[in-house]
């Protein structure tokens, strides 16, 4: 039996006294695109940071294509094909936007792929085009609005041409129309193909999002976290009807 694409097994993580992630296990197929939802402080972002290696788990295992990757450095995880965005956006403020993306294009993974594209700038430009902010390529990142910073985050992640993409609130701060556009781009990315000089592997995705309506349009499966535990896992239509989910989202009273 072949091992699953991404397998998370009994993951635990605590900060001081608080257990942010407790005994989380799930697996993800190569073609899957899942949503990760839950109230604030449920541990969604922590889970993503554990997978990308920015945080170290206390116990448990993360296996990518059958290989254990927890304990690896962040950059080596990225070069194996997993990349994530930051929820609280961490642009290089005093660099132009294009340079922000060029850093990702300069990673060994991105450099190895697409031998014929030696121009990093061109590739970075296409990543910006994909995220819809290519017209601002020369502005300093510090001048961007929240929504544009979100798109910059996405552009930076996409530029490494990942096989597993972890998006932390990609629609945050976007207007409804922009959200639609971004949703479509994400879907297209998932299908794979070319975006100019940028090549998409058709990455598997985990998307954290509060805008459920948009999320449900693009994902086939949703995992709900609350207090660091998985309380529901299934197709969107089922999950939103789940009593536990409604309670955790709107609190004890229900509607």
């Amino acid at each position: 039996m072949s091992s699953p694409f991404l397998e998370i097994d009994g993951l635990n993580k605590g900060f001081g006294g608080l257990k942010a992630i407790r005994d989380v296990s799930f697996s993800l197929g190569r073609e899957e695109m899942i949503g990760l939802i839950g109230p604030n402080g449920a541990g969604k972002t922590t889970l993503l940071r554990l997978i990308t290696g920015i945080l170290k788990p206390d116990s448990g295992a993360i296996r990518f294509k059958g290989k254990k990757i927890n304990g690896h450095k962040t950059w080596s995880i990225v070069n194996q094909g997993i990349v994530g965005t930051f929820q609280n956006m961490r642009p290089f403020r005093r660099l132009p936007i294009i340079a922000n993306v060029m850093v990702s294009c300069l990673s060994p993974r991105a450099m190895k792929r697409g031998e014929w594209v030696k121009r990093v700038e061109a590739k970075a430009m296409d990543a910006l085009e994909f995220a819809g902010i290519s017209d601002m390529a020369l502005e300093d990142a510090s001048t961007l609005s929240q929504g544009d910073l979100k798109r910059l985050e996405v552009a930076r992640a996409v530029a490494t041409e990942p096989e597993l993409l972890l998006l932390d609130e990609p629609f945050g701060g976007l207007s409804p129309a922009e959200t639609d556009l971004m949703g479509k781009s994400v879907k297209r990315l998932h299908k794979g193909g070319r975006f100019g000089r940028l090549h998409s592997e058709g990455p598997a995705m985990i998307i954290i999002e509060h805008k459920l309506q948009q999320l449900m349009k693009i994902v086939e499966r949703i995992i709900v976290l609350n207090y660091g535990e998985i309380i529901a896992d299934g197709p969107p239509e089922e999950v939103v009807k789940n009593k536990d989910v409604i309670r955790s989202y709107l609190g004890g009273g229900g509607i």
């Binding site: 900060f15 290696g53 920015i54 945080l55 170290k56 450095k73 962040t74």
Partner: protein, 289 residues
């Protein structure tokens, strides 16, 4: 020998502790790396020399004047040269370096580069297991410990101390508790410089005055602060005596030791930091890798 080591550990350690705590205070409250800190210590020492030798006044009076005067100089230079560029870290850094150079050069102009000394406050010595211990040494250790205790009381028991500690912990929340953060920074600078001046006053009879005398204590003070953990008063205290002892041991036990004392102490600091990057008593936060 053992007694010599203990005495010199106590003296060096106390001096470093006093300097390091002053340096830590202003770093903690205003994030200023004040390179000129030990330069204030130096001018306090010169002040005392001037008052006792040139004006022939009592050393105690000299000490008091020195402390007041140096604190004033410190506050003025903070107000005019450091505060306006506070938010530019690199600029603040070389502003303090330039300040230290200015103080050094002014002292060179007034007193020349000659080695000068100040007579002891009390003469005489006692013998203890065949080792001579000057009363001045004991006095210095005693006064230094008293001042350290006074600083502790200031920080723990007074309103200003509360404000200083709160501001060092979290500037914004301190603001929310009704503390005027800018004013607290100013007062902390005053306390910090006064401590440097006190230190100068305490050790002046034991050292030789020279306009370059601020360099070695500066380096040791910084090593102490980093070793103990930035912003930790307890760390500065413990770190000071550790490095003070390391210096004394090297000086007394190794040939050519007086050349190597700084090297050994600093190597200890680097080794500790490689094992504990946040220093001995620093606070480590969840590491992002």
């Amino acid at each position: 020998m053992l007694l010599d080591i203990i005495i010199s550990t106590l003296i060096n350690g106390s001096v470093y502790a006093l300097l390091a705590i002053g340096f830590s205070l202003i770093f903690g409250v205003a994030r200023i790396v004040n390179i000129a800190h030990t330069a204030f210590y130096m001018i306090a020492a010169y002040c005392i020399y001037f008052i006792t030798n040139s004006l022939n006044l009592h050393p105690l009076l000299g000490m008091l004047t020195a402390i007041v005067l140096v604190t004033l100089i410190g506050l003025i230079s903070y107000k005019f040269f450091i505060d306006p560029i506070r938010e530019h870290e690199a600029a603040v850094l070389i502003a303090t370096i330039a300040l230290a150079m200015i103080l050094q050069e002014v002292m060179l102009l007034i007193f020349t580069g000659d080695f000068l000394s100040v007579p002891s406050l009390i003469k005489g010595y006692m013998e203890f297991f065949g080792v001579r211990i000057a009363f001045q040494q004991l006095l210095t250790i005693g006064v230094a410990l008293v001042i350290l205790a006074a600083v502790w009381v200031l920080l723990r028991k007074t309103r200003l101390g509360l404000a200083i500690r709160s501001t060092a912990n979290d500037r914004e929340v301190a603001n929310l508790m009704g503390m005027n953060v800018a004013q607290v920074a100013m007062m902390t600078m005053g306390v910090s410089v006064a401590l440097a001046a006190f230190t100068g006053a305490v050790v002046v009879p034991l050292t030789i005055l020279n306009p370059h005398m601020w360099m070695h204590p500066l380096i040791m003070m910084m090593a102490v602060v980093v070793l103990g953990g930035l912003g930790s008063i307890k760390g500065s205290f413990v770190g000071a005596y550790i490095l003070g002892m390391a210096e004394s041991l090297v000086v007394f036990l190794i040939p050519m030791g007086s050349f190597l004392k700084g090297s050994v102490a600093l190597s200890i600091m680097i080794l500790v930091l490689l094992i504990r990057p946040e220093g001995l008593f620093g606070v480590a936060f969840e590491e992002e890798r």
